[in-house]
Symmetry: C2
């Protein structure tokens, strides 16, 4: 099996992050992977915002927790966060962002970095407390977030085999 | 640079497919990649339908062309088609399907197979002529299609460098 297939088949969501940081160089590789995702009609309307300071991510996690009524929400104490955003009017922005996130997850896996899709900003970007933070990080007012990548190193390094149950039919 | 990164950075959309078929073994690898994509809450509500007979894909392309008023639409004369579908009520089915498609595109690239996202079924799955064909291929009535993967071998093998323009900001 080639290395790319191996990366695809062994990627797992990580939720037990250690304190170890993700380096600037690694983050730049992940972003490079993200911007190379396909986009509808090659419009590339997405934008990528990276938070590396734990206090910044905690502040966002707290605002999310407050907005959703989930006191203590900590985004799995991840080391870094990539926030893809897109023009809310981009017809296929949601698909483009998901492809970019999958590129980030696979690139992370190939570098020995754990990752997980964070969904909590979906639908709440215009709540005042959330928008204030997005604006603080220069995310345009007309952008929304469909999913984010929490990143870090797995504490346990545990590999959980997941049964794949999707139905497949070849004609 | 590791092989996975190389695959991510060199993947391009292919639209100049040759007559060469994609083998059953290759298609099975692409499906394996697809079903290993992450899904929201690991629900795995997606389904993958593969069409390998040119006449079947042409029939679908013609129905799409008729529905959209695009006479002669031929889906780039691709050799095979993977149709991911998902329960229309799955909140994150669209994101799940995009991740699965990106896995297919990257797996294809790693195997020397060209691919391109086909968007034309998005929003028209319940048009009678389209639904009839989806049903013919056992796609459940409650499933919709957000995007498809057209597959084949590039005729020219041409590599077009695409400028990546997405804005990035690291904090």
């Amino acid at each position: 099996m080639n290395e790319t297939m191996n990366t695809i088949l062994t990627r797992r969501s990580t939720r037990d992050f250690s304190d170890k940081a993700v380096s600037r160089e690694e983050l730049e590789l992940l972003i490079k992977a993200a911007v190379h995702a396909p986009t509808a009609m090659n419009r590339q309307t997405f934008r990528f915002t990276v938070l590396t300071r734990r206090e910044d991510i905690d502040e966002l996690a707290q605002a999310i927790g407050k907005t959703l009524g989930r006191e203590g929400y900590d985004m799995y104490k991840r080391a870094a966060l990539i926030i893809p955003s897109n023009d809310r009017d981009s017809l296929y922005g949601r698909d483009d962002n998901a492809c970019a996130l999958e590129n980030i997850f696979l690139a992370a896996q190939s570098l020995g970095i754990g990752s997980v899709w964070i969904n909590q900003l979906h639908g709440i970007c215009n709540e005042p407390e959330i928008r204030k933070l997005l604006t603080k990080y220069e995310i345009p007012e007309n952008h929304v977030v469909y999913g984010m990548a929490a990143l870090g190193h797995s504490k346990s390094g545990e590999y959980r085999k997941i049964e794949r149950t999707a139905q497949v039919k070849i004609f």
